[in-house]
């Protein structure tokens, strides 16, 4: 029920010119996103770099259109200089500002379930496939498994049970590629990994360490290494976490400390010479630091959710194997889960890079979308959305698509149908009115409420719409009432 204010009375405030006060003049304010507030990750890409990788050039409007059709959103245009001006609000001198680039940066919003769009490589690749410029790459896991990592299961089970690994061979980094590599890890950490609690990614220069590797969880005071933060000091894990909790220069690491702090044992990745590669999920070691000259990359993802760990690893590999001398290939690693008596309980080869096949009934897809396209046409459309190559089975009634490791969002045939309709173009679908015949009806409570509102309004009262959320002070203290049990929030705004 809505509340009414007892405010019967005459119209007040007629101004001196005998006019009624007018509502404020409407200004062209861009009222941003509302209601169903979708959480959409934002990727910043340099416009020129994007177009050069795409091999095509667009006006801002034309690019906006392309994004619209594909399902991403060009949210904002800015530049390094503009960002600095907006954020530090004048703490930089004019000279300092001039040194910053004014190259245009596009801020693109991508759907929350498309982890392959979290870097420029992924966006470019998907758009090129969508435009038909290239075919979707086939990701290959190289046959021989030469490298391995042993998980001391009894220890790691206490804090962070799983790990998956991969090796990118003969990769070439440039500054842009390197920055993008780091940015992708940050994006994944923020989104899918839920701030590193579910999965944490560590990347290392493979040539600076010696396999086979070990994933263990040890007494914090017994883990000693030089971490990848500004200093060259060596810490043990316990003092390192205390350091990160207090040191201002490392405050970006502080939020992750609570993930392992209370545990008796901290997770640690080591090589065969007991060098520490990383202390997941906090920080990597300085020894295995990646530089622009790194040629081989060892990736390890430790996790509490194995499904997500595999998705994360597959994504990083899929995106950056592009820069290997044999593009879209990856060297696998065997993961051996060993218990305290030395027996291997479980073994897996990662990365999965699963190219699974999924099926959807063609009539189902057509009916779900509301179109009627031929099986052949549907098969070809699959190529545009990274579900190709597709096969027609069972007398052209079944569509079998290839789901690459970049499309972990495909859960059910409806996902396939959606992609087919995106390839077809949402705005090309003919609209229909459902033939559902129903009779409208209102809720008796709302009907009564509205009737009462009108009557009370006619009686001369002015309606007020009050907030549902109020403070203890407003509800009790200020009214001199004793606090009684009421619905209270555990996380008030």
């Amino acid at each position: 029920f809505f509340f009414f204010l007892v405010l019967k009375g005459r119209l007040s405030s007629i101004d001196e010119n005998n006019h009624l006060p007018l509502p404020s003049r409407h200004s062209q304010v861009w009222l941003s996103n509302f209601q169903y507030r979708i959480i959409m990750p934002t990727i910043a890409v340099e416009k020129e770099l994007l177009f050069s990788k795409l091999g095509r050039s667009y006006t801002d409007n034309a690019f906006d259109e392309l994004c619209f059709e594909f399902g991403i959103e060009l949210d904002d245009k800015t530049s390094e200089r503009e960002e600095a001006m907006k954020s530090s609000a004048g703490t930089l001198t004019r000279e300092q500002l001039q040194t910053l680039s004014d190259a245009i940066i596009y801020k693109i919003d991508v759907p929350a379930n498309r982890y392959d769009l979290l870097c420029i490589e992924g966006i470019v690749r998907s758009l090129k496939i969508f435009l038909g410029d290239i075919d979707a790459p086939v990701y290959k896991v190289l046959g021989e498994v030469k490298e391995s990592i042993t998980v001391r299961k009894t220890n790691t089970d206490k804090v962070r049970p799983f790990v998956v690994c991969a090796i990118l061979q003969d990769i070439t980094f440039t500054k842009d590629r390197y920055d993008s590599f780091i940015e992708l890890q940050d994006q994944l950490h923020r989104n899918l990994c839920r701030q590193r609690t579910l999965v944490a990614i560590g990347t290392h220069d493979y040539d600076t360490v010696k396999g086979p590797f070990v994933y263990d969880a040890r007494d914090p005071t017994k883990i000693e290494f030089v971490p990848l933060t500004p200093d060259d000091r060596s810490f043990n894990a316990k003092e390192l976490l205390n350091f990160y909790e207090t040191e201002a220069a490392c405050k970006h690491l502080k939020p992750y400390v609570p993930i392992i702090k209370k545990s008796d044992v901290y997770p640690v990745i080591l090589d065969s010479e007991e060098n520490v590669l990383s202390l997941p999920p906090i920080i990597n070691g300085s020894k295995s630091k990646i530089t622009l000259d790194t040629k081989n990359v060892f990736i390890e993802c430790t996790a509490t959710d194995l499904t997500k760990a595999n998705i994360v690893l597959d994504t990083v590999v899929a995106m950056f194997s592009e820069y290997c001398s044999k593009p879209f290939t990856v060297e696998p690693v065997r993961v051996n889960y060993m218990c305290s008596n030395g027996k291997i309980l479980d073994t897996k080869v990662t990365p999965l890079m699963s190219n699974r096949k999924e099926r959807a009934n063609i009539e189902f897809c057509n009916s779900l979308i509301g179109i009627d396209i031929s099986p052949e046409k549907m098969k070809i459309l699959c190529n545009k959305v990274q579900l190709g190559p597709a096969e027609l089975l069972e007398n052209d009634t079944i569509l079998e698509v290839t789901v690459p490791p970049t499309r972990s969002d495909i859960l059910h045939p409806v996902d396939i149908a959606e992609d087919v309709s995106i390839a077809f173009g949402y705005n090309n679908i003919k609209k229909k009115i459902p033939t559902t015949c129903t009779v409208g009806r209102e809720q008796p409570l709302n009907q009564l409420g509205d009737l009462l509102r009108e009557e009370i309004g006619c009686a001369g009262y002015t309606e007020v719409l009050t907030h549902g959320l109020c403070s203890i002070r407003d509800n009790f203290t200020a009214l001199r009432r004793l606090e009684t049990p009421s619905v209270s929030l555990s996380n008030p705004a």
């Binding site: 509302f34 759907p111 979308i369 859960l411 949402y426 015949c437 209102e442 009262y461 002015t462 309606e463």
Partner: protein, 488 residues
């Protein structure tokens, strides 16, 4: 009064116009308000024509007057220090008073008249001029920069005078002929009416207000939307329940338990009562299995579903929580006799978001859904278009989007006639089979749904920029009272 009238008329007769009523009235020694009043009545009978003027000028505040009389604070401070050749701050305070010493000292330092030596203040110059005082003495020719400084020190203030420029009107005459207010029988009988001047009707003044009640603009829009949806054959859902369990708000909608929206950053969780009492157990098991393992053609999310998480109480983040319960009830009650349905609701939802000019923690969501066999995306497009057409937006485009519980999903963009540009106006999609199957809806039944916020179209329609001017206790009464009728 008549005196002033005469003076005005005589002056106009001789000089044609009175440039500015303010100095004129001052000159003649009349109260300016009286002059303005009389000029206005003369303009009503069209003897004169008036034009509004506004002048602003600076006047001395009390502080300012005292500075002219006794000298500025810095002057006093300087003199005190000069006389004593050096003074400690405390002694200065005793010498000139606390306020004067504070302001004066600061000014002296600024002007570099004195400096600090240890605890004492000493003069650095031989003599000084009281600049501020001389500035105050010549208010008329002050530059804006000086004026700003003096205003900051509260020595002068800006006064605004509204005055009139008065000129001869079309019916100008030196003699004020009395105008008759009414026509009487005597005038008609005697024939006087031919010569008498009648007071013209004024149609532009407001009469006495009749008072009245007013309904809230947001709720006016809500009433219109309810009508629109019922005209489309939709049945209202019972949404009078703000506290919901995570189970109905998220889990039953196939939103994974690790989804960011279930974070404390986005959702309000209840401290008391923290847990829901019960959920339908058999249905709960089916939902759990769907999340963990999949089924009905889905591979599921493959994680461990936690009962504890599902039982957490929260303030609902969308009315889709109720939609879910309606679908469950529909499935349970129909058995083999499925009846298609169209549901809608317009009610309050809560999100723990950063508040800004267009977002509050609570707002209203409009939601509609159609449940029937073999519905398609084409049907959804058609339904959404029908709805938006009814509220005045006829040009629509659809964009691929993502919601955890719909697939396919579409964001609705419309060309808004008021904003004159394309803008996002809603969100829509088909509920996922993973959501519908555990409910027990028959195979082949599909659900299309769409939603938008109530506040946004209202703010556009009523030209309101800040949501706090629409919803809550800070809304100005005048706004509600003057809110136009809502018509789409």
């Amino acid at each position: 009064m008549a005196e002033i009238d005469q003076k005005i008329l005589i002056h106009l007769n001789e000089n044609g116009l009175i440039d500015d009523s303010y100095p004129w009235s001052k000159e003649l020694g009349y109260g300016h308000d009286d002059v303005v009043g009389r000029a206005k009545s003369l303009s009503v009978i069209r003897y004169v024509v008036t034009e509004n003027l506004s002048t602003s000028f600076y006047t001395l505040t009390d502080q300012g007057s005292s500075v002219i009389k006794d000298g500025s604070q810095e002057m006093k401070v300087f003199n005190a220090i000069k006389e004593a050749s050096k003074l400690s701050m405390n002694d200065l305070k005793t010498a000139v008073g606390k306020d004067t010493s504070k302001i004066g000292m600061a000014q002296c330092m600024k002007n570099k008249w004195i400096k600090k030596e240890g605890d004492d203040l000493i003069p650095i110059v031989e003599s000084v001029e009281d600049i501020v005082r001389s500035q105050l003495q010549s208010l008329d020719n002050m530059s804006d920069k000086i004026a700003k400084e003096l205003k900051k020190r509260k020595l002068i203030s800006l006064k605004k005078i509204s005055s009139l420029k008065i000129e001869k009107g079309p019916l100008f005459s030196l003699e004020i002929k009395k105008q008759a207010a009414d026509i009487t029988k005597e005038m008609l009988d005697s024939g006087e009416w031919k010569d008498i001047q009648f007071k013209p009707y004024t149609f532009l003044t407001f009469g006495q207000s009749v008072g009245g009640g007013y309904l809230h603009p947001l709720l006016k829009v809500r009433a219109e939307f309810r009508k629109v949806l019922m005209q489309m054959g939709f049945e209202e859902m019972p949404t009078n329940k703000w506290v919901e369990s995570s189970f109905w708000n998220f889990d039953s909608l196939f939103q994974p338990q690790s989804h960011p929206a279930r974070d404390a950053h986005d959702t309000f969780f209840i401290k008391e009562p923290a847990r829901t009492v019960s959920v339908p157990e058999e249905y709960y098991e089916r939902v759990k299995t769907m999340h963990e393992k999949g089924g009905s053609g889905s591979i599921g999310y493959r994680y461990d579903f936690q009962r504890e998480e599902a039982f957490k109480n929260l303030l609902r983040t969308h009315t889709t929580a109720i939609s879910s319960q309606m679908l469950y009830k529909l499935a349970q009650n129909c058995g083999d006799n499925f009846k298609p349905a169209k549901y809608f609701s317009i009610d309050r939802v809560f999100r723990n978001e950063t508040m800004d000019a267009t977002h509050l923690c609570e707002f209203h969501q409009v939601e509609g859904m159609v449940v029937d066999y073999n519905l398609s995306l084409g049907d959804l497009i058609g339904t959404v278009e029908t709805f938006f057409k009814k509220i005045g937006i006829t040009q629509l485009r659809f964009k691929p989007a993502f919601n955890p519980y719909t697939e396919p999903s579409m964001e609705v963009f419309g060309y808004h006639p008021t904003l004159e540009k394309w803008t996002e106006i809603g969100n829509s999609g088909m509920f996922r089979p993973e959501m519908l199957a555990p409910m027990g809806l028959p195979e082949g039944v599909r659900v299309i749904a769409w939603g938008l916020s109530l506040e946004r179209p209202t703010m556009i329609k009523y030209k309101i920029d800040n949501i706090r001017d629409l919803f809550g206790h800070k809304v100005e009464m005048a706004r509600t009272k003057t809110a136009p009728v809502c018509r789409f």
